[in-house]
């Protein structure tokens, strides 16, 4: 889809996903890393598969000259240089776009290239804090937590890819490139849903709710969301409405067939049941037999049984559960590619099926210097120039 386009990807973790998404859509993404970079990190491998690798030292003056020359002949530049750093000086959008007016220069930084906090330091933790996401996760009144796998990289990286495609649409109409300035903090706000609107309209400062759902009952009752089961946890909520009724009826018939103790569930008419009117004592009485039934189920049994009965709710999967999910297998989600030393590496495949075909990863994870000569050659460097860069230590060959 993006077959005609060349991308120079000089990003760190905050921008890895951007290039991966463009690569999965068919762009020729050239990852640039300095000599000796750690290519074994699982995050690096997962997000830099399907790219070519040019090992180029951008702290070396000859390397910087080579970069400036390549930037004149490229469609997209992706970078995550810290504002105020020497690297940010090299990635100067005004200068690079002046030299290549069709260039789409994408900067991904914690707070954007300008502004009062532009030069502040932020890892995933501070970025999730700054974007509001942490204040909404954790026990009520207790420690705000981040997701224990960096998420700000995803939010920033995906919004950067979207900004890049917006700029491409404009370029197709006008021939002009531009600078896309991504703030990871602002990008993370997409994750907090409509919580900002509650503050804006009603002055309600929404906060974290832990493992329970609050604010649904006029009597202040809390509904359990996460339930222990035989081998982990389930996400199940007593809902009202049509979908809630089908779910609750399905559960009771499942429990009945399993000869589980129904307790008060036996006497509830789900057509008339209204979760907004229940007291905590009533909720506790409803949840007690459900909790005991769920302890007899595995995550996989719940997933299967809930699906058959069209019930709302999912098990809390970990990466091993996800890896074994037959739904993903059936849709050809995983893609295996050759890895180091004759191994096979398994990746999340392309994120969509397009016209019946899964977006395909066409390149395994590159090794250091693997495409250095090839890429520089394609970009007009002759072999003596390439040899000179290698001899000077600015480029490493595979």
């Amino acid at each position: 889809m993006l077959g005609p386009y060349r991308v120079l990807d000089c990003t760190g973790p905050l921008g890895w996903l951007t290039g991966r998404l463009l690569a999965d859509l068919g762009a020729d993404v050239i990852k640039i890393e300095p000599p000796g970079a750690d290519l074994g990190d699982p995050g690096w491998r997962a997000n830099n598969v399907n790219k070519r690798l040019l090992t180029l030292d951008l702290e070396d003056e000859a390397g910087r000259d080579a970069f400036r020359r390549m930037a004149k002949d490229t469609d997209f530049l992706l970078e995550t240089a810290a504002p105020g750093s020497a690297a940010a000086g090299l990635f100067d959008p005004d200068a690079l776009i002046a030299a290549n007016p069709k260039l789409i220069h994408v900067s991904v930084t914690p707070f954007g290239r300008t502004g009062p906090h532009a030069e502040w330091l932020a890892s995933d933790l501070e970025t999730m804090a700054a974007g509001g996401a942490m204040s909404l996760a954790g026990e009520p009144g207790g420690l705000p937590v981040r997701v224990s796998a960096a998420q700000s990289h995803g939010w920033a990286g995906a919004q950067a890819a979207l900004g890049a495609m917006m700029a491409l649409t404009h370029r197709a109409a006008t021939g002009r490139g531009q600078h896309v300035d991504v703030s990871a903090q602002a990008a993370v706000i997409a994750s907090v849903a409509h919580a900002p609107a509650s503050w804006d309209l009603l002055g309600i400062n929404s906060t974290r709710a832990g493992a329970f759902m609050t604010g649904r009952s006029v009597h202040g009752a809390n509904y359990r969301v996460f339930w222990p089961c035989k081998d982990g946890y389930l996400n199940f909520i007593i809902y009202g409405g049509v979908a809630g009724r089908r779910t609750n009826e399905g559960l009771v018939s499942w429990m009945t067939a399993a000869r589980a103790d129904l307790g008060v569930l036996a006497g509830i008419d789900w057509v008339r049941f209204d979760p907004t009117q229940a007291t905590q004592a009533e909720v506790d009485a409803i949840e007690d037999p459900i909790g005991r039934f769920f302890l007899t189920l595995t995550k996989a049994e719940f997933l299967e049984g809930a699906f058959e009965r069209e019930m709302l709710g999912y098990p809390v999967f970990n990466v091993a559960d996800i890896a074994a999910d037959p739904q993903l297998e059936a849709r050809g989600y995983w893609q295996d590619l050759p890895g180091p030393g004759g191994s096979t590496e398994r990746f999340c495949g392309g994120f969509a099926i397009v016209d019946g075909e899964r977006l395909e990863l066409v390149r395994p994870v590159p090794s250091e210097g693997e495409h250095s000569r090839e890429v520089l050659g394609e970009m007009g460097f002759d072999s003596s120039e390439i040899d000179g860069l290698i001899a000077a230590g600015a480029v490493r060959d595979g």
């Binding site: 204040s135 996760a137 796998a149 919004q159 997409a190 509650s198 099926i353």
Partner: protein
């Protein structure tokens, strides 16, 4: 819009469905100049209009939902009932008009109401179509319907959130819906670019579940390659120490992390413990991790009487990673977000002033905006059907008489 050029000038989008996963894509496209038509009917309005707070002044009403409006600014809203006579024909005029169609209903629903991809392609051959649902259009569990808040558990996010020895945690709202929207939105624009070059349309079958996994791709790789099962770990990081959130004054919290020995040497005096810099217990990251309780206690004691924002500024002044844990209220006074104009207040027909989110990227040449508030139900029937589609007075009147419009 004023004379400012917009990136998606002339791009037309039609949305079927509702809630978050589909409409969020259209909202962002509208912020950069696309014409986006949100289709509802009087009998079946978008679920966010009546099912979720906040409502203006706390009073429920079809045009009072701040939740709906938050996800649908800058769009045109039509009421079009496909079940009434002539409804499908009118819907097809709309789908013939658009470049991009976004739908997030259960698999098969569009086809069942006479608006399947194969049918629509007959008269709009190069349409770019995006279907987004929980599990995708195929596979043994394709028919699953469900909420994004629960799907976030299946896709690993809830299990990775919370203390190591505690329960999984909710992420606020349908977290994964926004992941899916932002991962797949670039794809429709890539398809638009290809269409300009080749004339081909595209059909995207998007599973929100699969999109979500791209945000934990590293952890999945680590499992497949090394058998490692990532678990929730509070705020711990496998490398950095300290790495956590610390209580401050007025129920505030401060996030702090430390990524090198040099940074620790700057952190120690900044939190009132210059002696830490030479303490052998904290000489490197591994030792700091082993003795983390002493560090956490010391930082917490330092931060407790301080304002979280001031504490963060003090640490940043010493070049230490730190930020206030912004609450929803804090997002509206954050100076960096103010600088970017993340919140753009527009006057809504019934809600009055509301702050709408501007996406997290600025474009230097085509800056984008929130051109308008969210529309009232059916607000734009006139302009969409008469002006965009060119219905004659007679056609329009017939559709109104038949209850289609």
């Amino acid at each position: 819009m004023s004379g400012v050029p917009q990136a998606l000038e002339g791009v037309t989008v039609v949305e079927f469905g509702g809630y978050a996963a589909g409409p969020w894509i259209g909202k962002v496209l509208a912020n950069f100049g696309a014409k986006v038509v949100h289709v509802e009917s009087r009998d079946r309005p978008d679920g966010f209009r009546l099912q979720y707070p906040p409502y203006k002044d706390g009073k429920i009403g079809i045009n009072r939902s701040g939740c709906f409006s938050y996800f649908n600014d800058s769009k045109y809203a039509v009421t079009l009932d496909v079940k009434k006579p002539g409804g499908v024909e009118l819907a097809r005029r709309l789908t013939d008009w658009c470049d991009i169609l976004i739908e997030n209903m259960r698999p098969g629903v569009m086809a069942r109401i006479g608006l399947g991809y194969e049918v629509l392609k007959e008269t709009n051959a190069d349409i770019i179509w995006l279907s987004s649902c929980n599990m995708g259009q195929t596979g043994p569990r394709a028919p699953t319907g469900g909420f994004g808040s629960q799907l976030s558990a299946l896709a690993g996010f809830s299990g990775l959130t919370g203390e190591a020895d505690g329960s999984p945690m909710l992420l606020y709202g349908p977290y994964i819906d926004f992941v899916a929207a932002l991962v797949s939105a670039p794809a429709v624009l890539a398809a638009l670019d290809r269409r300009k070059r080749t004339g081909e349309g595209a059909y995207f079958d998007v599973a929100q579940y699969e999109c979500g996994l791209t945000f934990i791709a590293g952890a999945l790789f680590d499992y497949h390659a090394n058998g490692k099962i990532a678990e929730r770990a509070g705020n711990d990081d496998p490398v950095a120490a300290p790495h956590g959130a610390y209580r401050c004054r007025d129920e505030g919290w401060l996030a702090v992390s430390c990524w090198s020995d040099d940074e620790f040497a700057r952190l120690a005096p900044a939190v009132g413990h210059p002696e830490w810099a030479d303490d052998p217990r904290f000489a490197d990251a591994a030792k700091r991790r082993r003795n983390i309780a002493a560090l956490d206690d010391g930082i917490a004691a330092w931060s407790a009487p301080l304002d979280a924002g001031e504490a963060a500024a003090a640490l940043q002044g010493a070049r230490v990673h730190a930020y206030r844990v912004n609450t929803m209220a804090d997002l509206f006074s954050d100076p960096g977000l103010g600088h970017r104009r993340t919140w753009r207040v527009r006057r809504h027909g019934e809600i009055d002033d509301q702050a709408y989110y501007f996406p997290g990227f600025d474009l230097s040449e085509t800056p984008g905006d929130v051109p308008g508030p969210a529309p009232l139900l059916g607000h734009d029937n006139d302009i969409v059907f008469r002006e965009f589609l060119g219905l004659t007075e007679e056609e329009y009147a017939t559709h109104v008489a038949n209850g289609v419009i």
